[in-house]
Structure formats: C-alpha cells, structure tokens
C-alpha cells in the first residue's frame, strides 16, 4: 500500500511512478505534471524506473489557477 495524494491507495509497493500516472490517465509526456515521493522530487527521467516502496507517500501535482 502507498499513500497517493493523501489517500490510501491500492497501488502496491514495487510499481513505478509511470504506472501511477497511467492509473491517473496522465500521459507521460504531460507538461505541467510533477511527482514527489516522501518529500523529494522524482525527476521526469526516473518516472519509468522509480519503484515505490511500501507506505511511500506519493504526490502527483499539476498546474492549477493561482497567484
């Protein structure tokens, strides 16, 4: 189990960041998307290889109106 955007998720440990983006229907080349795991930025180049650990806190962020 991991925590995805503050919610318990059925994503299992070992899945990649890319897999999570796929579940959210986000294209991997999407401009305006960023991912943090446990408070650290996961660079775009690592999305395909970064495997999530059990209880990882994953934040998937995108552009919103603001400022």
């Amino acid at each position: 189990m991991i925590v995805l955007n503050g919610q318990q998720s059925d994503v299992r440990a070992g899945e990649t960041v890319s897999a999570i983006l796929g579940r959210l229907d986000l294209p991997l080349d999407a401009r305006g998307v960023a991912v943090a795991v446990d408070g650290e930025v996961v660079p775009r180049a690592q999305w395909g290889s970064y495997a999530l650990a059990e209880h990882a806190r994953v934040e998937v962020l995108t552009a919103m109106q603001g400022g």
């Binding site: 991912v35 995108t62 400022g67």
Partner: protein, 297 residues
C-alpha cells in the same frame, strides 16, 4: 512664499529622471518619436524581455474561457500558475489554455509556510513546467497572508544557489527588499496591501523607497483593487504590476483586464514624463505680462 510638500524621493524624481533610459524630453514633432520609443519601452528580468509591464495571476477566474479572454485583453506575456494535487474530476487543461494564449509561465509557491516547503515546491514546478523562474511566496499568517520574512530569505537564498530565477513576494519593507536583491533575486515583488484585499497601495513612500534602494526590477504584487492602483504603482517607479483578483474577481474581468493594461501604460508614461512637484500654493500657468489695466472697478 511657496512651499513644496514633496518627499525627498519625489524631489529626486522630479529633479532628474530615474535613469538615462527614462530621459526623453518631448517637444512638437518629437512627440511621435517619443511615443514610438515609449511603445517599445520594454522590461527585462533576468535576461527575458517583456513588452508588457502587466503580469497576470490566473487565480480566481470563474472559467478557463474567461481567463483566456482576459489574457488577450490584458496583453500580458507572463502569467502565474500554482501546483496542486491532480484532480481526476477537473475539466479542461489550464496548461493547454495558457499554451494557446502564447504566454510564459511563472509558477508560484502559494500556500507554502516554510522555506522547506517553498523550495520543494519550486523544484517540483521546475520539473513540471521546465522553467527556472519561480514566484516565491512563503506565508507567515493565515488571515493576512503576509510573508514570513526569515523563511522567505532562507528560501530565496537556497533557490538562488540552486540556479532559480527568484521573484519573491515580499512586504513593502525597503530593507527586506534590498536583502532579497542582494542575495541574487531577479526582481522583488512588494505588496501594496494584503493579497486579494483590493486596498491599493497603503504605503506609497515605502514602494518609492524600494524603487530607490534596489537595482533589480520592482513588481508591485498584491493589493491592487482597480486601475488607479496600478497606475499609481507605475508612477511610484515600479517596473511592472501583477494583478490577479482585481481582474479575475471583477464583475467583468475582461473589461478590467483592458483597464489594467491601459493604467499600467499610463502610469509608466507619467513616470517617465516626470511629474510636476506638489506645492501647497498655486502656480499660475498664465503669465501676468500683458495683463490690461481695466480701470477702477
């Protein structure tokens, strides 16, 4: 006896234009040339040239369509965006709208209360939007949304060291603004009054002092409520104005965007034209010479 009630800042401004680029005496046939020069009056921040001195905050627009129309009416080239959790139910893509509008993005760190959160958010924004530019906000109080000065300085220093082009949202404190400029911020963005308050520029003397004390561009952020506030900011010497709520929450945002565009332009022209000194007593604009003797009344 005539008395001036100008501040030293006013006197300095009235005595000499703020910079050689500002000096353009206008006379007769030169007016057209001066107008053309003013039209090309560009702003450069960290090597990026902007023809518009109005920056737009994208927050608060009731729809993306209205945002797109307001961008067009404002003539702005740089708009702020925030980073938030992906909402699977969200409709329409803000990024697509902004890309279609042809504007550059200035991501912000809105909602961050610590240097750590702001730095991490800036790094995420760099990843998301492929830009080193960041409007740095570190909020110290929930009710006023005023900046937390020590955290702001800490975050700014770290981000400058990390290669970011940092535009910090700051209080109207000239000393803090100078500290931010000294550590390498590309511009400073003092508030006129609290975010979204529409209270205008509460301390114009401080804004004028900031303009005198730092050499980087000064962008008035926060507090603008209507067009005259934006014009005043430019008259005080600000290099640009960022407006968000004043436009997005106006009854007619597109019309207000056009008003802000005109106000920023007018204020900039007035600033570079060099205003007359304020005086307590009248100064006749019509000469006394040649006044007829009309006899006893």
């Amino acid at each position: 006896m005539r008395e001036t009630i100008d501040t030293p800042a006013d006197a300095a401004r009235n005595g000499a234009p703020a910079s050689p680029a500002d000096a353009s005496p206008v006379s007769g046939a030169a007016a057209a040339a001066a107008a053309a020069a003013a039209a090309a009056d560009e702003l450069t921040i960290a090597g990026r040239t902007l023809r518009s001195r109005l920056l737009l905050g994208t927050g608060g627009f009731p729809s993306l369509a209205l945002l797109a129309d307001a961008i067009a009416a404002s003539g702005c080239e740089l708009v702020t965006v925030a980073l938030r959790r992906v909402d699977p139910a969200a409709r329409g893509s803000l990024i697509d709208v902004l890309t279609d509008a042809g504007v550059e993005l200035l991501p912000n760190t809105a909602g961050c209360h610590t240097a750590r959160d702001a730095v991490l958010t800036a790094r995420l924004a760099r990843e998301a939007f492929a830009t080193d530019w960041i409007k740095l906000e570190v909020i110290g109080d929930e009710d006023t949304l005023l900046p937390d000065a020590p955290e702001l300085l800490r975050a700014a220093e770290e981000l400058v060291d990390d290669g970011f082009v940092v535009l910090p949202y700051t209080t109207d404190d000239p000393v803090l603004a100078r500290r931010l400029a000294d550590i390498g911020c590309a511009a400073v963005m003092p508030l006129g009054s609290p975010i979204g308050s529409g209270m205008g520029i509460r301390n114009p003397y401080n804004i004028a002092l900031i303009r005198e004390r730092v050499s980087v561009p000064v962008v008035l952020d926060a507090g603008v409520g209507t067009a005259s506030d934006a014009a005043l900011a430019m008259e005080l010497g600000c290099d640009a104005v960022l407006a968000a709520s004043a436009i997005s929450r106006a009854q007619d945002p597109v019309r207000m965007a056009a008003a802000m565009r005109a106000a920023v332009h007018a204020g900039r022209l007035a600033r570079t034209a060099g205003r007359i000194p304020r005086r307590l007593y009248a100064t006749a604009s019509t000469p006394d010479e040649g006044l007829p003797d009309l006899g006893p009344g």
